[in-house]
Symmetry: C2
Subunit: 187 residues, 2 copies
């Protein structure tokens, strides 16, 4: 049985759209990271920790875990705490490039596959009106970097170099190939 170790509605939707049958199970994972860690290593580590925590509860399952961060000017941006924090993040991303890292870990009782997918995202310069409009949507508040690529946030983005689905939180084509190694196929 495939188990998605994530509470993200985007990941759930993507995996459903691909045609997989799965359960969701989220377990409390220690997300403390060593100071100064970069985006790549952060998601590589966190996806693995999330998978391991759920594997301990469901030892017979095939666990798929994933973690996404926005990395800008050498710093990791997580989810904003509030509106002011979201505004600060959007102003920081405005008019320049940042990198989104999504780490994926698939494990069963025997083996473990880990990968990191990176995508470079370039933002349009955002004027005050556009930032206000976006802060008034419900999009920024549950997302790393205070934006989502798939809804209204799409108008903030000038260019993506890499996989759109990596930015959304689950690199579908790579996940498909990783799950295949565990004989897990969509229906």
């Amino acid at each position: 049985m495939l188990i998605l170790a994530s509470a993200s509605p985007r990941r759930k939707e993507l995996l459903e759209n691909l045609g997989y049958k799965f359960e969701c199970l989220v377990a409390d994972t220690d997300e403390t990271l060593e100071k100064g860690i970069d985006g790549y290593n952060a998601v590589y580590e966190l996806a693995y920790r999330k998978a391991k925590t759920v594997a301990a509860i469901k030892p017979d399952g095939v666990i798929l875990a994933s973690d996404t961060v926005v990395f800008c000017d050498g710093e990791i941006l997580g989810k904003p705490n509030d509106r002011a924090d979201a505004e600060k993040m959007l102003r920081r991303l405005s008019g320049k490039k940042h990198t989104v890292y999504t780490g994926v870990c698939v494990m069963d009782g025997e083996k473990c596959e880990r990968l990191v997918s990176a995508a470079e995202v370039e933002f349009y310069p955002l004027d005050d009106a556009l930032i206000e409009w976006y802060l008034d949507t419900n999009e920024p508040y549950d997302k790393a970097g205070a934006y989502g690529i798939q809804g209204k946030g799409s108008v903030l983005v000038k260019k993506i170099d890499g996989d759109y689905f990596t930015v959304m939180g689950l690199p579908c084509a790579e996940v498909f190939r990783a799950l295949k190694k565990f004989q897990i196929l969509p229906e």
Copy 2:
């Protein structure tokens, strides 16, 4: 009033997700093209024709029309006629790059904005099992080039150079900026 001159459920969904209020109206448009026309010029022309047809019916509206084609080895791929045709297209796209062109035309009684957005898509090599699996979904049959980027088709795609939404049929960020010139903003 904004009017979307398209029957595509993907375009409708994207425009809704952006927060626009609009009506849909599709009118019969002559889609005959001169022989040997390339993808860029095909969508530039067809988006304009679609917009003009609808503008004649709704002269007070702001019309948004769009057209998408897949261009591979110098040839335009439209929607497949049947399963055999879809299979032929997928085998043709397998393991190589093609270009998706989406043309956009916005017009009201006074002015007209036209643009074409191009995205290069690279397919994984597709084996027989993957092609059969994809042909068994309902995805290939109403889409140019016999695939959709947003659902199960995402596992066929190795890389996109350009806008994901251009491949889906409506380059959101560019449409947002074009509509702004007509004082049409999302809510």
